[in-house]
Structure formats: C-alpha cells, structure tokens
C-alpha cells in the first residue's frame, strides 16, 4: 500500500525499548484517521511494534523490511 504518512518517526538511532515507546506516544498524539510511519533498526521491533499498535487500538497498515539497510518501516493508522 502506497500512502503518504501524516507523521514520520525516525527511530533508527534508538535501541530497545525506546523505538516502541516513542511509537506508543506518537500513536496517542495522532488525530483520528492520521497515519504514522516509523523507521527503526531495532530487531525486536517487528514483534513489539505490532503489539503496541494492537494495545493502542490502532491499525498496522504495513510492515516492510529493508534487509540491506537493516531497517524496518511500519505504517500505522489511528482509526
């Protein structure tokens, strides 16, 4: 899905558990219908970010892994 995110959160310099906590706070600040793109190099993010999205009542639209740059990109929408 190609969608321009409303908010972009670059967590590539952060390590566990900071990317997930920054994502959690960013979701809370989203207006309904807005989307959030999160970039991270944290290897556990592929487990923890879907969990925090679920707990926050948001929707994970996509999760892409860029293996060359060791970066995962998440697109999240607040309903």
């Amino acid at each position: 899905m190609n969608e321009t995110p409303t908010v972009r959160l670059d967590c590539r310099e952060d390590v566990c558990p900071v990317p997930v906590l920054r994502t959690k706070e960013a979701i809370a600040k989203l207006t309904p219908g807005a989307t959030l793109e999160v970039l991270t190099k944290d290897p556990m993010a592929t487990v923890d970010i879907p969990a925090v999205v679920h707990k926050a009542g948001a929707v994970l639209l996509s999760m892409k892994a860029d293996e060359e740059n060791e970066t995962a990109t998440f697109l999240i929408r607040r309903p």
């Binding site: 558990p17 900071v18 920054r22 487990v47 969990a51 679920h54």
Partner: protein
C-alpha cells in the same frame, strides 16, 4: 573501591529511576505520596524523599529523553493499572540495564573506581540491550505480544 556495574545499578541507577517514576506519579498524575507509595511498593516517607529529589540523586537521568520516555511509560502503566509492582520491577530492571548499556553511568562508575578512567572499559556497552522491558506488560488474550 571496585564496584561491578550491577552494584552500581543497585546503588545509584535503580534509586534514580524509582525517584523519577515517583515524581512523575506525584507531579503529572497528581497522586498523593501515599498512593504513589502503594503503587511503587515503597513507604510514604521514601516517596516523599524521591519526589523532593532528596533520594536517587547519585546519577542525573532527568536530561536523558530516552530514559524519560521509559519513566513516563512506567508511571502511566502504574496509574492506569496496566502494570503492577511486579511488572514495574521488570521494567525498572530493564531500564537500569539500558542506562548501563548506553554508557550513561560510565562517569559515575569512574568516580567510584578511578582506575576505570582511560582504561577503555566497555564492559556494559557490549552487553545485550534489555528487550525484556515489555515482559512487564499484562498480556491480554489475542494480543500478538510475546
């Protein structure tokens, strides 16, 4: 005096983190010292000392945004009932390991053990990051968390 990183964590980092969580509960969540003490598993006088910044001052963590985001998460979790004192212990332990791993306690460690200064010590920084942080969550049925 020689002190292991874990001894440093027990003596300085964990009290500092507890203090920040106590202050967050009192200042942001407007809890009484007694209510904060109940949530933290501490005595009321201990919370009073933490809230006034008279305890947990050995290491300065208030200017570390990455640490403060963990502190807010812990306080929010306690305030909402998402975590209990056991969950808090898991998160505090992980947060203390994080502080060590990021090298935030190296200056303090070198004050205690001057031989460390200039020694190239990177013992803490080679340890794995504390991904057990989220084990403090209460897992709900159907949640994809581990």
């Amino acid at each position: 005096m020689q002190e292991t990183p874990q001894e440093l964590a027990a003596r300085a980092i964990l009290p500092a983190l507890r203090g920040l969580v106590a202050r967050e509960l009192v200042r942001e969540h407007k809890f009484t010292h007694q209510k904060a003490a109940d949530l933290l598993g501490l005595s009321r006088p201990a919370v009073t000392l933490y809230a006034r910044g008279l305890r947990g001052r050995a290491i300065e963590l208030r200017r570390r945004p990455d640490v403060l985001i963990m502190v807010r998460d812990m306080a929010d979790g306690l305030a909402s009932g998402e975590i209990d004192v056991r969950g808090l212990m898991t998160k505090l332990d992980s947060a203390a390991t994080y502080v060590l791993r990021k090298g935030y306690a190296c200056d303090l460690h070198a004050q205690v053990d001057p031989e460390l200064k200039g020694s190239g010590c990177n013992l803490c920084m080679t340890a794995p990051f504390p991904c057990s942080y989220f084990h403090g969550w209460k897992v709900e049925p159907g949640s994809p968390t581990r």
